[in-house]
């Protein structure tokens, strides 16, 4: 897992011990509600200096899908 993505999750959920994998979903993290999701998306945009389009915003079923999206974006640049 990307260190920066791991760090964003730990900071947004204020949990230093949090470990996310490609298979992690919102159901695995109790605090991952719709509000936390907005914070998470903002923090990811900020950290990776990208804009996530509206139609992608709610489309990530797993952390792995988010990671792949970020990698695709990084590769596209």
């Amino acid at each position: 897992m990307d260190d920066r993505l791991q760090q964003v999750f730990r900071e947004i959920f204020a949990d230093d011990a949090l470990v996310v994998t490609d298979d992690t979903t919102a159901d695995d993290i109790p605090a991952w509600d719709s509000l936390a999701h907005i914070n998470l998306m903002f923090a990811v945009e900020n950290e990776f200096e990208i804009d996530i389009p509206d139609d992608q915003l709610g489309s990530f079923g797993t952390v792995g899908e988010l990671r792949q999206f970020l990698e695709a974006r990084a590769g596209a640049r």
């Binding site: 907005i38 903002f42 950290e47």
Partner: protein, 685 residues
């Protein structure tokens, strides 16, 4: 606090992460107080949302296990937009301001219902402080009003009646977020002259709320915060449309910090005393090495930066901040700068406690606090030296330490960004209040009454001070002599040593003139050097900084030269104009001052340097265009270092001019003249 970049993404994120790493390490080792301290320090370093969220987590876990904060408050956040992030960050921001808070957040957009309904969760919570976190979209104002005064008054009254209800029902203090005014205005610049435009009305409502806020209502000026970071950054349409975030998530930490600071001030937790280092903080250079005349202050870019910093400090004093000095210096030397340096803004009587010694700074700071009878948690320490800042952080942790950037031009912003000098209200005792009112009245008079240039000059209340050429002034005088191109009659360049030698010669008079007015201290701006030759006072050098051209100072300087001639028993004053590529500005000066052109033959004996020739006299017909009011000031400034550093190239057409002392016309008298160069001889007039 670290100065943040104004653009783009959070420049302080790296520094925040360092603080957070230390906070986590402390937390893991069971050091809750250390974890709190480092988490709070991390929030000083930047505005990164994720890092703030992490810091908020540390505070939520560790703060309750320490008893480090003596103040506590129950805070209700009532919002018109999604305020969950603000509510989540408020505990860390309030803890930074010195208050442990428990937060209640009303439902989305429910602020009005919660206040109006006596059985709402708000009243069950029993708040000590209510934060009204509202955004511009919530203001009940039309896009264009037919009756803006009425609409503004009604909107302001809607909020003040909510305040009244809150205070009546809870006794709580209210923290009102003023409206941040969106930058996207369809009317464009026409909005500025259209009172009925929504943006204009929003500003008017802000102003009305400012006037209406009594002692129980504090304001957070969100429009200023938004402008500070850039409104395009503050307003993020994507997150408004996605999640009703009226404040960009990247700006919520800033809003939280300032809300915390204002809230803390309401509860008496604001800082009271600014402790100032001296060397490289109030002036440039080390006094012990450079000496009184060698420090950078007032003149030159760095000197202006330090002077501007002092001006800002004086504004803090005017709002009630106590000033103290904490310096490693000889006490007498340090005080001498305050007493003698002409560009010092701060005076000794501005400083409540002056501590200059070779004792370590933590010891000096403890002494300052005990002498002033205030707690260490009231102090804020400012020092350019990172080592001194660190030792104070470590040994007197209660003291807040402001990080100054390496470049003095950033000092004002670093200090202005520090939010914990917030005061609930200015009281009648606050120093400088009377002066503020006086300045306001004067500004009004200026606007109303300046119908002529003379009136304008009078209204400036200019004071010219003739100062001695000594160790303090010599560097600036040498700089002026080396760099002044436009208003420079002879263009002669001289070294510091040559100037000092001239000044020591009793036949030579050196006039060094500072100019101040009600708005600014212009510093040392004019130099005239004249030598007595029998019954003639011969002007060897006469120059003036371009920043004060067009203010009649040259007329007054001529008057001073005439007075000098009289004092020495001379019958004539003789001037020379040596044309250079850049001094056409003063080609007409002697004519305008009533001097008569002398035939070339009569100018023999005049000391002219090097390439200058006194033989080629022009016909005196100079078409410079300077009008009756003196010199034009609309020329580009060329007072800057010459790349060659040598003599300007003199052109042909040098002229000499003579004025009989008895024929001299009195100067216009629009500038008050004082002299500090003549203490022993008395004032010459």
């Amino acid at each position: 606090m670290t100065t943040r970049q104004d653009d783009g993404r959070d420049a302080g994120a790296g520094a925040m992460r360092t603080g957070l790493d230390r906070a986590r390490a402390a937390e893991r080792s069971g050091d809750d107080a250390g974890a709190v301290r480092w988490a709070l320090a991390a929030t000083d370093a930047g505005d990164d949302l994720a890092a703030w969220s992490a810091a908020a987590g540390v505070i939520a876990r560790c703060l309750p296990r320490t008893a480090s904060l003596s103040r506590g408050a129950r805070v209700a956040v009532l919002g018109s937009y999604t305020t969950s992030q603000l509510s989540a960050l408020l505990p860390v921001a309030a803890a930074r301001a010195g208050v442990a808070v428990e937060v209640y957040e009303c439902g989305y957009g429910q602020y009005r219902q919660e206040i109006l309904d006596p059985s709402s969760g708000l009243y069950r919570f029993g708040p000590d402080v209510v934060v009204l976190a509202v955004h511009a979209g919530e203001a009940q104002l039309p896009a264009m009003s037919q009756d803006p005064d009425a609409d503004v008054a009604a909107e302001a009254a809607r909020w003040t009646s909510l305040w009244d209800l809150l205070v009546e029902r809870t006794g709580a203090r209210v923290v009102q977020h003023l409206f941040a005014i969106p930058p996207d205005v369809a009317l464009g610049h026409l909005a500025a002259r259209t009172p009925g435009c929504r943006a204009t009305m929003l500003a008017a409502v802000n102003a009305a709320l400012g006037r209406a806020a009594g002692s129980r209502v504090a304001l957070v000026d969100c429009d200023r915060l938004a402008a500070e970071v850039g409104k395009r950054r503050w307003f993020d349409a994507r997150y408004w449309h996605r999640a009703k975030q009226a404040v960009s998530l990247g700006c919520v930490p800033l809003l939280a910090r300032h809300t915390g600071a204002v809230l803390g001030a309401q509860l008496g937790a604001s800082r009271k005393c600014l402790v100032l280092d001296l060397d490289n903080t109030l002036w440039g250079g080390v006094l012990g090495e450079e000496g009184l005349g060698g420090i950078a202050l007032g003149d030159g870019p760095a000197g202006e930066a330090f002077a501007a910093f002092q001006d800002h400090i004086l504004e803090l004093k005017a709002k009630g901040v106590i000033l103290a000095v904490c310096s490693k210096n000889n006490d007498a030397d340090a005080r001498e700068v305050f007493e003698r340096h002409p560009a010092m803004r701060l005076r000794l009587d501005d400083i409540a406690m002056f501590s200059a010694s070779w004792a370590d700074k933590p010891a000096q700071i403890r002494q300052i606090a005990s002498t002033l009878g205030i707690g260490l948690e009231s102090l804020v320490f400012v020092d350019d030296n990172p080592a001194e800042r660190e030792v104070v952080r470590q040994l007197v942790g209660e003291v807040d330490v402001i990080d100054l950037p390496p470049d003095p031009h950033g000092y004002v912003r670093a200090l202005a960004s520090y939010p914990f000098f917030e005061t609930p209200a200015l009281t009648a005792e606050d120093a400088g209040r009377a002066a503020q009112y006086r300045a306001r009245a004067q500004a009004a008079q200026l606007a109303a009454g300046a119908t002529s240039l003379e009136d304008f000059h009078r209204s400036l209340a200019m004071v010219a001070t003739v100062v001695p050429l000594d160790e303090v002034t010599l560097p600036r005088v040498a700089q002026l002599v080396a760099k002044t191109n436009q208003f420079n009659l002879t263009g002669r360049r001289r070294s510091q040593a040559e100037l000092a030698e001239l000044a020591a010669d009793p036949r030579t008079a050196v006039l060094c003139v500072r100019l101040t007015d009600q708005f600014a201290d212009h510093g040392l701006v004019t130099v005239a050097i004249a030598s007595q030759e029998h019954d003639v006072l011969d002007i060897d050098t006469w120059l003036m900084s371009c920043r004060v051209i067009g203010r009649t100072l040259e007329d007054e300087t001529a008057g001073l030269l005439v007075a000098e001639a009289r004092l020495r028993g001379c019958r004539y004053v003789r001037g020379h104009y040596l044309p250079t590529a850049k001094n056409g500005l003063v080609a007409d000066l002697f004519t305008r001052l009533g001097f008569a052109l002398v035939e070339p033959a009569a100018s023999h004996g005049v000391r002219l340097d090097g390439a200058c020739s006194d033989g080629a006299c022009s016909d005196g017909a100079h078409a410079d265009g300077a009008g009756a009011n003196g010199l034009r000031s609309d020329r580009p400034c060329s007072e800057r270092p010459r790349s060659d550093g040598g003599m300007p190239e003199h052109r042909s057409g040098a002229t000499s001019w003579l004025l009989a002392v008895d024929d001299a016309v009195s100067p216009p008298g629009l500038i008050q003249i004082t002299r500090t160069d003549r203490e022993l001889e008395g004032t010459a007039s």
